[in-house]
Symmetry: C2
Subunit: 342 residues, 2 copies
């Protein structure tokens, strides 16, 4: 484990212990144990990319000089707030999607004696964020901007989730609702803001920057987040299950995936009919028919083209940015995701 | 309808329309209609006491002078934030309690095509609050205190809900977990902070006061909120269904109600056994046995005594407060709830 990662994980223990002793609530032993277990189960088990990238970004914004212990601690605390936000979204998303597993273990609400109490646990996760921010940032000049930022990004994510839910779950399965424009809108709001923009925006605030003067940075990161989700959709269908760590289910789940949206766009009437008849059915024969059509339409080739043209566009936008430090942040994000296999 | 109430309802329309056109999200027609309908169904249908009391309290804090239109609008906006907060809690609480009706209509998640999307709708309601606050209070000196206040009160409410959920739903029904101390803790955190303290705290901030110097006001309001919930528990069992508008179900729902907690305290071993055997069963014979025991223990008499001693204690605390304006706010709250029949 890298030094940074282990320092980051130490901060998790500090924050957890502060939350479990928050004077705003008188914990009973049982409730303290509940929250303790809930946090350990849901918060630190992911890849931690979002949280760690706050520290990386802050360092790059400081022209690469070593961060002080105080800077590392505070960047970690904000990074953990993003991980907490993610945990909150995932706990509730799994309930709404009736999912069974997450990160290789049963979804939290599937555990015995949890069930719908998980809804409130999601809320607790969300409520921990302003507690952490208040404790560690209340006196800083950018405290109110940090609160506004988290509030705005959460608002956007919840609305992205709304159009995803309406599209995927509401009423009869109707593929004709799916389009590239809808896909882009879902992805941008549901994923890109909190996964890509938020970590960098936090680092910018900590570096004393004003977010209003960085709209271009936001746009580039949203673009990158969209590209990241297209990869995710692609890997769900074409990735190696051994590498990505799960067997994709977007086809049977009737997901508004970039893959099916692209296939619809490229299909003739007959092929569209095949998609309408077979997409979203949990039946191996239907799934195979859809995959066969993806082969015929050369979706893999279309993806490779999309990938390289996205990369070129992003690189160009990044290089036209006036600050070398900001360029370095954006390039490090892009390098982490370009041509990823998982 | 009083003039104030109709002005308050006008502000609802303004806020709703701002939210449905929030530039932070690109609404589709379908998602805008969804949120519109969801708000109308869940937000304005209650008694609006919490929201309206912000305006009343602010007026009393200004020594009773008429508020300007701007003051009324802003107090209403904050008042609606509390109503939004309440709607958020109720939408999610009904899911967690598997409830069927709320305010005389089906619970939101019970409607066709809603289901678990209601979890995200609860989240949206919650997310609307900081949007309203940002739009209308961003420049004001107490903006950050308002954000902190809402965050802290939501944190407390969610933790009150946690101990309520753990106590009521987790594991086997075990009456021996119930005590006056647990009841007080649940009520204080789950209800009193957001229903009693929050409206007055908002008014204090708007009147330019500092919340740190009003801890005594908080304590009195928490005490009042506890008394209010004890009334609620009492009325669930002994109130007139025609007056309270519903038939109580706390006995069969195994609720940690003041009534059962008091009965446990006053019972001998044999009576305790009867409670353990019959409380929390959805069976008319069991319910009657419990009610019969309440009669034997004279819970109604015990309640009347509790009520008058609470009233005296509260009045004494209020009258020892140094500010006449603050006294007036607290007295108006107490007058609204003392000896209420619904
Ligand atoms: Mg999901
Ligand atoms: Mg989902
Ligand atoms: Mg995926
Ligand atoms: Mg309930
Ligand atoms: Mg409940
Ligand atoms: Mg009740």
């Amino acid at each position: 484990m890298s030094d940074l990662r282990s320092k980051f994980l130490e901060v998790y223990s500090v924050l957890k212990s502060e939350l479990l002793n928050d004077p705003a609530f008188e914990f009973t032993d049982v409730s303290r144990q509940w929250v303790d277990r809930m946090l350990d189960y849901n918060v630190p088990g992911g890849k931690l990319n979002r949280g760690l990238s706050v520290i990386d970004s802050l360092k790059l914004l400081k022209d690469g000089r070593e961060l002080t212990d105080d800077e590392i601690f505070h960047a970690s605390a904000v990074g953990w707030c993003i991980e907490w936000l993610q945990a909150y979204f995932l706990v509730l998303d799994d309930i709404m999607d009736s999912s069974h597993t997450r990160r290789g273990q049963p979804c939290w609400f599937r555990l015995p004696k949890i069930g719908m109490i998980a809804v409130n646990d999601g809320i607790l996760l969300r409520n921990h964020i302003p507690r952490v921010l208040k404790k560690h940032f209340r006196g800083r000049p950018y405290y109110v901007d940090l609160l506004d930022l988290f509030n705005e990004v959460e608002f956007q994510t919840a609305h992205g989730q709304l159009i995803d839910l309406i599209t995927t779950h509401e009423g009869e399965k109707d593929l004709s609702k799916y389009s590239l424009a809808l896909h882009r809108r879902i992805v941008q709001y549901k994923t890109a803001y909190y996964s890509f923009y938020l970590p960098v925006a936090c680092a910018l605030l900590m570096a004393g920057e004003d977010l209003e003067s960085h709209v271009d940075v936001k746009n580039i990161l949203i673009e990158m987040g969209t590209y990241f989700q297209v990869q995710d959709d692609y890997l769900d269908c074409f990735g190696d299950p051994k590498v990505i760590g799960k067997v994709g289910t977007d086809i049977q789940d009737f997901k508004c995936s970039w893959v099916v949206v692209k296939a619809l766009e490229l299909s003739n009437e007959e092929q569209k009919k095949l998609l309408h008849e077979n997409y979203g059915k949990d039946d191996q024969i239907c799934i195979e028919k859809v995959k066969e059509l993806y082969k015929v339409l050369d979706i893999q080739g279309v993806f490779l083209e999309y990938e390289s043209s996205s990369y070129q566009k992003l690189t160009k936008s990044i290089e036209s940015h006036s600050s070398k430090a900001v360029q370095a942040v954006l390039k490090s994000f892009l390098a982490k995701i370009y041509k990823r296999q998982k």
